[in-house]
Symmetry: C2
Subunit: 311 residues, 2 copies
């Protein structure tokens, strides 16, 4: 039995979603879209799960960088190892603040430090480490394991779309292989349907001659964010989405891409306006919120449109 978005309050957002799905699934209707073309793409951080007070993947990265800096004193002579080891909140805070203002240099230094630390490990070893972190480390504010901090109404929407013949993909600005560790468990989205940023890989063979995929320290270009998202979507899916959901300026190009579909399309922008149950912030989403009306995107108010926030 298909859900009817029970964790959503009645209102413009819920109606827009129900109407859209009704329309594209009505056989012989003027807006019918065959299942093969029912592509939906969902941003992850801030759209499907928590991204404040810190990106979950950033917390994982800081731990790995900190462990490496503790083990190898020579690393502490340079960034990001020095700041992480010394818990230099001024440096780390500036990296985060700059990123929100559109200057990714500090965050890139962290990302490159992490890629360096993880260079040469197998994709399986990385995944096991991520799964352990997401399952066993408790998030400081909500006091729950990270993997439990998904947004219930959005996960319900993913399942509602899947039940209606949609192929639902994640398009994360963060790491693709990071989300693959839990996507099947927490969203019931197959790992082949996760698009995201990544390092590149190389082929190797272990001591027994068994082929292994090893991480390099090279960041694959483009990052799956902003104008990088549509090319990533094309590369993986080969079709333009008819539905896209995001929450920040990094999702603008993806939302426009979906709305450029010839035929029916729907773009959703999750607005973090719930002081009580989550956090209230527009930082990093100012342009998207400003564009929403003229572009015909549906703004989803966490406060008004959702009966609950977390799954």
């Amino acid at each position: 039995m298909t859900t009817q978005l029970e964790s959503w309050n009645n209102g413009a957002a819920k109606s827009a979603i129900l109407d859209f799905v009704q329309k594209v699934t009505t056989t012989n209707g003027p807006d019918f879209v065959p299942p093969a073309e029912r592509i939906a793409t969902f941003d992850n951080d801030g759209t499907l799960w928590l991204e404040k007070p810190m990106y979950i993947q950033l917390e994982h990265g800081l731990r790995a960088i900190g462990r490496a800096a503790a083990e190898k004193p020579e690393l502490r002579e340079r960034q990001p190892f020095k700041a992480v080891y010394e818990k230099d909140m001024a440096w780390l805070g500036k990296a985060a603040a700059d990123y929100a203002k559109g200057d990714p240099s500090g965050v890139l230094t962290l990302v490159m430090g992490l890629a360096e630390v993880l260079e040469g490990i197998t994709v399986e070893a990385f995944e096991a480490d991520v799964l352990d972190f997401l399952s066993n480390v408790q998030e400081a504010h909500f006091k729950k394991p990270y993997k439990q901090l998904t947004y219930g109404p959005m996960v319900e929407l993913v399942h509602y779309l899947q039940d209606n013949g949609f192929q639902v993909y994640i398009t994360s600005g963060g790491g693709r292989d990071f989300m693959r560790a839990v996507c099947e468990e927490i969203y019931q989205i197959p790992r082949s349907m996760v698009i995201g940023s990544s390092v590149t890989f190389k082929y190797g063979e272990d001591a027994q001659g068994i082929p292994q995929i090893l991480r390099t320290r090279e960041i694959e270009q483009p990052i799956d964010d902003g104008p990088g998202k549509p090319p990533h979507i094309h590369r993986t899916i080969g079709r333009r989405p008819i539905l896209a959901a995001g929450n920040s300026d990094g999702d603008i190009h993806m939302l426009k891409y979906a709305k450029g579909h010839k035929g029916p399309s729907l773009a959703l922008l999750v607005h973090h306006d719930d002081t009580q149950r989550e956090f209230c912030y527009d930082g990093g989403s100012e342009k998207a919120l400003q564009l929403a009306q003229q572009e015909g995107w549906i703004v989803v108010s966490m406060k008004d449109d959702w009966k609950k926030v977390f799954a």
Copy 2:
């Protein structure tokens, strides 16, 4: 009703396939593999369709390069435009012969020339051009449109695996978007399940402000061939295949990767030994054929194992 590989003769290859599928699909059996992990990867050129006397995609590329050289005389001052325009069979033949011997420089010059000619066009325009070529141009030797030159027993095998809960991917050393133009029609493989080589893309907006994905002239690294295949497979699927099929030395790493699966695995190597119905050649497959026995790969004889060659 599931096929039982009716276009295959009884013999070691057919038995190995039927036994393997039986084994991994037997619930509660010791070798049961859940559907999510039943990943199969198939090389394309020479495995699923014709690759002689010339790679089909090469014929398409030569035409595009030739058109550009005819329109822009200044291009003819350099390779590959000069050779293609002048039909310089010595230069073109050497490029092909060098490639078979492991020196890709001439073929790379052609690939880069093609990427240059197609720079800036939309992915939809490229796909339409490919579809037109594959549907309407007749192959010189067999006198049929290119898209009809698939191997019937291999297409039957793809469907047999799909019917048994496998997710079947193409992993082409050639262009991913080239195969996407016809994969759904000729193999019933969704375009999101095509892995292959590619240029990179950039985001653009057309005169109406509609987002478009545009081809660049940059070749994405690595090429999806040889040691590049397993990293491509990881990037797209995120799981190790349990079955892989190829026909040439470019498939060695993929076949080894599949055989490295912890649990049951099957690797198939198609051998072009049918002088009557296709072509007889080992060139470019010498190492793979030599490795087959020690690695436990099943060699599929087109002559002995197949009742027919073309679909």
